[in-house]
């Protein structure tokens, strides 16, 4: 019972925070007043590409598509390489997922452009490739952490491979997998800003514009919502993770 009240409280806190965030990014007037006050010498303090709300929308869509794909493929690969028939690919998957993390995201992006051009698609591909690795790693770790005794007992009761996966291995590793998804999504929110360099839009565009035009007001318009968004998504997925372990 105690656990349930705690999780309800954290959901309410999250909803309040999300509401405040929404209010903040839709108050264009507020941004203009405050930024003009901080940077009185700057002529244009609001990024002209679109409203903040739209930029956040673009950004979220980039992250949602790439992280969604990364989750589907990451968990899928993690499951396949821990099956008897996929075992031979387990070392490959483990090595790839640790190696992949050492690549800087900009490099992945640069490599994606020649193949896919500019804009939304190459950015999603880059984010997908970068985001899939923690998910694969955590899925493998989660499934491998299920004790062999529990699995043997499960097979001993006459469960099929699929039933052991669905009823034993996945429920027991769900929390670790979820935490991989959370890490991946949060990394992607930050990394997605880089997408603006190849015209994918999102919160990266005011940041890039601010850097190029030496306009710190633009920079703040991108950086502050991006940071808050990362925090928001992190708590959202964190709450899901916690409610899973309480069950």
């Amino acid at each position: 019972m105690a656990k349930k009240t705690i999780s309800r409280k954290s959901w309410i806190a999250l909803a309040v925070f999300a509401g405040a965030f929404l209010l903040l990014i839709s108050s264009t007037g507020l941004w203009e007043t405050v930024l003009s006050f901080i940077f009185p010498t700057t002529r244009q303090v609001l990024h002209p590409r679109g409203t903040l709300l739209r930029l956040v929308g673009e950004h979220l869509w980039l992250v949602f598509v790439s992280s969604g794909l990364a989750t589907i493929f990451g968990v899928g690969i993690g499951i396949v390489v821990t099956r008897p028939f996929g075992k031979q690919y387990l070392p490959l998957a483990t090595n790839m997922s640790s190696l992949g993390q050492t690549f800087p995201p900009v490099a992945v992006l640069a490599l994606a452009v020649p193949a896919l051009g500019f804009g939304f698609r190459p950015t999603v591909v880059a984010l997908f490739l970068y985001g899939i690795l923690p998910i694969i790693r955590n899925t493998i770790a989660g499934i491998q952490s299920v004790s062999s005794e529990v699995k043997e007992a499960a097979f001993g009761t006459g469960m099929s491979q699929l039933q052991v996966l669905a009823k034993i291995e996945l429920p027991l590793s769900l929390r670790v997998i979820m935490s991989g998804i959370r890490i991946s999504a949060v990394i992607n929110i930050g990394t997605a800003t880089v997408g603006a360099t190849i015209g994918a839009g999102g919160l990266g565009s005011p940041i890039i514009a601010g850097l190029v035009g030496e306009n710190p007001a633009f920079l703040l318009q991108g950086a502050i919502p991006a940071a808050l968004l990362a925090f928001l998504i992190d708590s959202f997925l964190g709450n899901i993770e916690k409610s899973l372990s309480a069950a």
């Binding site: 499960a154 001993g156 009761t157 006459g158 469960m159």
Partner: protein, 361 residues
């Protein structure tokens, strides 16, 4: 009946775990496989439900070659209790036990009924334990749930791999006692692996002693204790074989009837006593002590001559003869009284009788 025909298991690294084992495991009996670690007893057990497949040889259950049966199907008909219990940590006690009924697609009401029945059978109050998670249970309780899960769909065969290995000695003895009671009630075909010789002797109808992948001797528990085939079996059974045999005998088999004295009644009863002493009971027939006949003097009331007995000096009918002997040695007496559940006097067992048992086997 489970029949093992020339079963051999050689692992990929060429180690020979089980070497040409043939056994006939009778139905409705408890067969123990025992031996030092690495002797192949667990491997042998796990080949019966195909967790491990033999390199060569055949296993038949009621005449049917198990390699021709679907493994899932086979396992649903065989209860399985493993060393560290292997309860599913994310499922409640209820869900754990209901695993096989669910796989067999039993109706909800039937499963529910069975759950309560099983929890009571293993001595756990359903209303208290049903919704607990495994991590909220003590070792002994978890073990009981493990046994209940194995028995859930009422399988004719149950395989148990050191099921009581992970609990403290006190709990272990308690679980063994209850298990003996359960087996008496259900008479399943049980194959039980252990390295604990006392446990084997307590539980087994038949014992197979294994070493280096081979079965050295396979006999009834009594025969193995009475006539070990070779030095290894002899040494493995221990130098106290005679005592161990006594632990398989219960007191009520060798109890002698004797007429107790009612303390509340008159001294005339003493005239009928032929022994030098007599057990004394109160008006309800409950045992309270004993009386030396030679202490008798005219006019003395019986209660004045009474020597009271402590609980340690009374045996229950279910006690083993070994226990009786131990109590006698402790209290320095040649005989001890046997009582029922309500402390009512049932009879006595004497040192003389115990010697007779050990002499005649």
């Amino acid at each position: 009946m489970i029949k093992l025909e020339g079963i051999t298991k050689r692992y990929d690294d060429r180690t020979l775990a089980v070497d040409n084992v043939s056994l006939e495991i009778p139905s409705n009996q408890l067969t123990v496989l025992i031996g030092p670690s690495g002797c192949g007893k667990t491997t042998t057990l796990k080949m019966i439900n195909r967790i491990i497949s033999p390199t060569s040889g055949k296993i038949l259950i009621d005449g049917r070659d198990i390699s021709t049966v679907d493994a899932k199907e086979l396992r649903r008909g065989i209860g399985y209790v493993i060393q560290n219990i292997g309860l599913f940590p994310h499922m409640t006690v209820r869900e754990n036990i209901a695993t096989v009924p669910r796989l067999l697609k039993w109706e909800k009401s039937r499963t529910q009924l069975r759950l309560d029945q099983l929890l009571e059978l293993v001595g756990l109050e359903p209303s208290v334990f049903s919704d607990k998670l495994p991590r909220e249970l003590s070792g002994g309780q978890a073990q009981r749930v493990g046994v209940a899960r194995a028995l859930a769909a009422d399988p004719p065969i149950v395989l148990m791999d050191e099921p009581f290995g992970a609990v403290d000695p006190l709990t272990r003895v308690k679980l063994q006692d209850e298990f003996v009671r359960i087996q008496k009630e259900l008479s399943k075909t049980i194959v039980f692996v252990t390295h604990d010789i006392d446990e084997a002797i307590r539980l087994a109808d038949r014992i197979g002693v294994m070493k280096d992948g081979k079965v050295l001797q396979y006999d009834s528990a009594e025969d193995i204790l009475a006539s070990p085939k070779n030095k290894f079996v002899h040494d493995f059974m221990g130098s106290d074989r005679a005592l161990k045999r006594l632990s398989r005998r219960s007191v009520n088999e060798f109890m002698e009837q004797s007429k107790p004295l009612f303390v509340s009644k008159g001294w005339e009863q003493l005239k009928e006593v032929k022994e030098s002493f007599v057990w004394a009971v109160d008006e309800e027939g409950k045992l309270i002590g004993w009386i030396h006949v030679s202490d008798f003097k005219e006019g003395k009331h019986l209660s004045e001559m009474l020597t009271e007995l402590s609980d340690d000096e009374m045996l229950s009918a279910e006690s083993t003869v070994k226990e009786a002997l131990s109590r006698m040695l402790e209290s320095g007496t040649m005989a001890l009284p046997v009582i029922g559940k309500e402390k009512e006097f049932l009879g006595q067992i004497s040192m003389y009788k115990i010697q007779e048992i050990t002499r005649n086997g």
